[in-house]
Structure formats: structure tokens, C-alpha cells
């Protein structure tokens, strides 16, 4: 308990002092994870929706694999992306390793299956309800996927938040592909890992509290937006 109150103190002091390093780390964390979520949604939402309304051989297998990919260990993704982006690897010429770009790529790969698998479920449930009517109106599968995605948009908010939460919380992928470079690729989670390994546990906990607060606030804001819009549209 002592550690926790010490940590809370540290957290407050850090924030109150307006430490520029802290600000930089928080901003980078948000940049990386939000960009990753954006990319993951751009890919994952259409894929999930298409699988939901589609009918093709191997569909069941794909659904199972997609669901399983939700549990991809971040450190494994980090390792694979590292091997891809290393100068010795196939995409080395782009020099992306140890940059925020690499972190975005790794996190996008991590979250895309989550977005796809969950949106597939949500769209599939809606498809069951809408299917006859949409077909009756002459909607084809592709159009239906897009129409349904927009119609279930409030449920998608929750999915996007789940993806963002996973991204903001992980350290295994970003520490390998980013290198935790001070001022360049140090984000909240890798900073916490570093301070922990340096034995500065109160500071690590303090940073952890700040991270939790940020994620909580984002979730609360999204919830409010979603609830009000949902009440309006039914």
C-alpha cells in the first residue's frame, strides 16, 4: 500500500510539474496506438464484414483462425516484424526498424485480427436480422457488408476501443521493433518497463497510473458519445 501511495504521489508530481519528457512519451504513445488502430480498422472492418456476409469454401476455417489470431502474443508479433524490417530482412531497405513507424506496423498487425474477428461477429448477427429485407431490395453481398457496417456503427465503437486498449497496453511488440530509444521510440509501456528494470518501482507505478487514467478517460468519452448517439438513432 505504501508503494501505491508513493506511486500516486509520483504520478501527481510528474503531471503537475509538466515534465516535457512525460508529455513527449504520452503523445508518442497516443500517436502510435491511434494510428495503429486506424490502420487496423481500415483493414479489419471491411474484412470482418465481408466474411460475415460471405459464403465461400473454407469460411468456417477462416472464422476459427481469425478468432484464434486475437490471441497473438505481442512479443511474437514483435519478433516477426523485427525480422521483416531489419536491414538483413526483406523490407530492410525502408529503414523502418527502431522508428515509430515500425511500432505502428507491429501494433496494427496485432489489433487487426481483433477488429476483424469482433466486427465479423457483430455484422453476422445483424446480417441474420437484415438479410431477407436487404436481398429483397436487391442488395448484393458486398453492398450489404458496407450497409451493415454503418448500421452497427455503435457496436463498432466498442470494438475500436477494445483494439485501442490492446495496443496502448502492450509492450512486447513495441519494445522489440522500437528499441525503446529515448526521445524517439519510448512510449508509456516501454518507459514503465525501463523504470521497473532500473528498480525505480514508484516511478514505474506512477507512469502506470497515468497510462490507466488516459485509457480510462478515452473510454469514458467514447462511451458518452456512443450512448447519446445510440439513444437518438435507436
Amino acid at each position: 500500500m505504501n508503494d501505491l501511495s508513493h506511486a500516486a504521489n509520483q504520478a501527481l508530481q510528474l503531471v503537475a510539474s509538466g515534465d516535457p519528457k512525460l508529455f513527449e512519451i504520452v503523445l508518442l504513445s497516443l500517436r502510435v496506438s491511434l494510428t495503429a488502430v486506424l490502420i487496423a480498422c481500415a483493414v479489419g472492418l471491411p474484412v470482418g464484414a465481408l466474411i460475415a456476409v460471405g459464403r465461400f469454401p473454407g469460411r468456417h476455417g477462416i472464422v476459427v483462425i481469425l478468432n484464434a489470431l486475437m490471441g497473438l502474443p505481442p512479443v511474437v508479433v514483435g519478433l516477426l516484424v523485427y525480422l521483416l524490417l531489419s536491414r538483413a530482412g526483406p523490407l530492410g531497405e525502408f529503414g523502418l526498424l527502431f522508428t515509430p513507424g515500425a511500432m505502428v506496423i507491429a501494433q496494427a498487425i496485432l489489433i487487426a485480427p481483433i477488429v476483424a474477428a469482433l466486427s465479423r461477429q457483430v455484422v453476422e448477427d445483424a446480417w441474420a436480422e437484415y438479410r431477407e429485407q436487404l436481398r429483397s431490395l436487391g442488395e448484393r453481398r458486398l453492398g450489404a457488408a458496407l450497409t451493415l457496417l454503418w448500421d452497427v456503427r455503435f457496436s463498432l465503437v466498442t470494438i475500436v476501443l477494445a483494439g485501442f486498449g490492446r495496443a496502448a497496453a502492450e509492450v512486447g511488440a513495441v519494445i522489440i521493433v522500437g528499441g525503446n530509444i529515448d526521445g524517439v521510440t519510448r512510449v508509456m509501456t516501454t518507459a514503465i518497463a525501463l523504470e521497473t528494470s532500473k528498480g525505480d518501482l514508484p516511478l514505474a507505478l506512477g507512469l502506470g497510473l497515468i497510462l490507466l487514467t488516459i485509457v480510462l478517460s478515452l473510454n469514458a468519452a467514447a462511451y458518452v458519445v456512443k450512448e447519446t448517439a445510440q439513444r437518438r438513432y435507436g
Binding site: 431477407e132 436487404l134 429483397s136 431490395l137 438513432y233 435507436g234
Partner: protein, 248 residues
């Protein structure tokens, strides 16, 4: 109560629709059992029969949502996939998108490839015809059951289909809403749309039907002009049904 309008068949009309020996099997049962009939323009057709008779399935077979296990269903000049549909269906429960009532109607018009500039105008006109012009901007899903069903009707009205299938459209509605829906259906018939209606409401069948198709256990047992059917049906089962004494 108007009689049948002048039949409107031509080389490019959807109707007549010809069903030949249509069978639909599911779960080892014959839900539609060797049905043959021809649906023609201008006549308001009502399908009645006990639960499980296969009415809804037959409707969906005609509309194209289901494919027969055997037999043929042939339109006179079939629809071209990818072009605007010339037949439409209204379901027992209206399925509307999370958009305004107007947007729901406009969506159907977009699917029918009506040019964007025309869509809103036609959508407003359709909502007006069903008496909902004041509610156009409201989110469709917060409307009452009767209002939602009217939006569904506005949606098909805007499409001006040749054939309209209706599957128990007022089963969940109160008498006032039912009356409104029947008014719209009658108006569509007057505008030239062929009506094919499944209903349990015998009063509605009497009000809206020109001819009655009676189904029982998947078989088409009787096809009779409406006024004659309700006075003296030809089949024994139909007579029992009208008395409420047909066993399931």
C-alpha cells in the same frame, strides 16, 4: 371495393408468373408440395391457410428469396440481375436501417439506381402517400410499429414495383395502423401494382382480396374468387378453416 383492374401483360412485363410443380423440402418435410399456379396482373391475390401450410415459404419462393427443391418458377420477362428490381416484398416485421425514415426510403431508391437528384423527391412523395411526411427526419427505429411498417410501405411504393408481396404485414399492428396499411395497399393496387398478400386476418382478406388461394399442408387446395370463397368454398378443408375447425 373495386374489382380487378384491367390486366396488364406484355412482352416485357414480369407477370404472368408461372409456377409448375413446385416443391420445397426442408428438414425432411415437404413444406410446399407440388404447387402449380399462374399469377396474373391486375388481380389482388390473397393466400390464406392454417399455420404451417407453407404460405410464407410459397411467397418467398415467388419473390426469389428461396429456391425450389424441384419444379420451376418462371417470370414472363425475368429480372436482370444488377438492374433495379421490379418486384418487392414487405415482411411481417419491418426491417429498417438506423437512419431517418427518409434515408431508409432513399436507400431503397439508391439500390434501384435512381439518380441521386431524384431520390429525395421520390422519397418525400412516398412518405407523403403513407401519411408520414412529418416524420421524415426522425430515426426510423424510434417510430412506432405501425409507423415503421408504413415506412416499409413507402419504401416499396417509391420503387413502383410491378408485383408486391406482403407477408402478414399487419399481424403485429393495432386496428388503426392496420387500416392505414390497407389504405396504402389499395392505393398501390390502383396505381397498377399486382398485390400478393398472405394474411391470417379473414376480414382483411375479404377487404383486400380479388381471388383467394387456399393452402393446406403445402398443397394448393383451392383457387376461388374472393366473394365466392367466403360464402361457399369448394374444398372441405377451406370450409372447416373458415369455421375455425381445421385441425393442424
Amino acid at each position: 371495393m373495386s374489382g380487378p383492374a384491367a390486366p396488364m401483360h406484355g412482352p416485357h412485363t414480369l407477370l404472368p408468373l408461372r409456377l409448375r410443380s413446385v416443391v420445397f423440402e426442408a428438414g425432411g418435410r415437404r413444406i410446399v408440395d407440388d404447387v402449380s399456379l399462374t399469377l396474373e396482373a391486375g388481380v389482388r391475390t390473397v393466400l390464406i391457410g392454417p399455420n404451417g401450410a407453407g404460405k410464407s415459404v410459397l411467397l418467398r419462393l415467388c419473390h426469389g428469396l428461396l429456391r425450389p427443391s424441384s419444379g420451376t418458377i418462371a417470370w414472363n420477362a425475368p429480372e436482370i440481375p444488377g438492374r433495379a428490381r421490379r418486384q418487392a416484398m414487405v415482411f411481417q416485421r419491418p426491417v429498417l436501417l438506423r437512419r431517418s425514415a427518409l434515408a431508409n426510403v432513399a436507400y431503397a431508391l439508391a439500390l434501384a439506381r435512381i439518380p441521386r437528384l431524384e431520390r429525395l423527391g421520390r422519397a418525400r412523395e412516398a412518405l407523403d402517400k403513407v401519411g408520414l411526411s412529418a416524420l421524415g427526419e426522425r430515426p426510423a427505429r424510434v417510430l412506432s410499429g405501425g409507423e415503421q411498417q408504413r415506412v416499409a410501405l413507402a419504401r416499396v411504393w417509391a420503387l413502383r414495383p410491378e408485383v408486391l408481396f406482403l407477408d402478414e404485414p399487419t399481424a403485429n399492428l393495432d386496428p388503426a395502423a392496420t387500416h392505414e396499411i390497407e389504405r396504402v395497399i389499395a392505393a398501390m393496387h390502383a396505381a397498377g401494382t399486382k398485390i400478393v398478400l398472405v394474411t391470417h386476418n379473414l376480414g382483411q382478406a375479404r377487404r383486400l382480396g380479388d381471388e383467394v388461394l387456399f393452402l393446406h399442408q403445402g398443397k394448393l387446395l383451392e383457387r376461388t374468387p374472393a366473394d365466392r370463397f367466403f360464402k361457399r368454398p369448394t374444398s372441405a378443408e377451406a370450409a372447416q378453416f373458415l369455421e375455425g375447425e381445421l385441425p393442424w
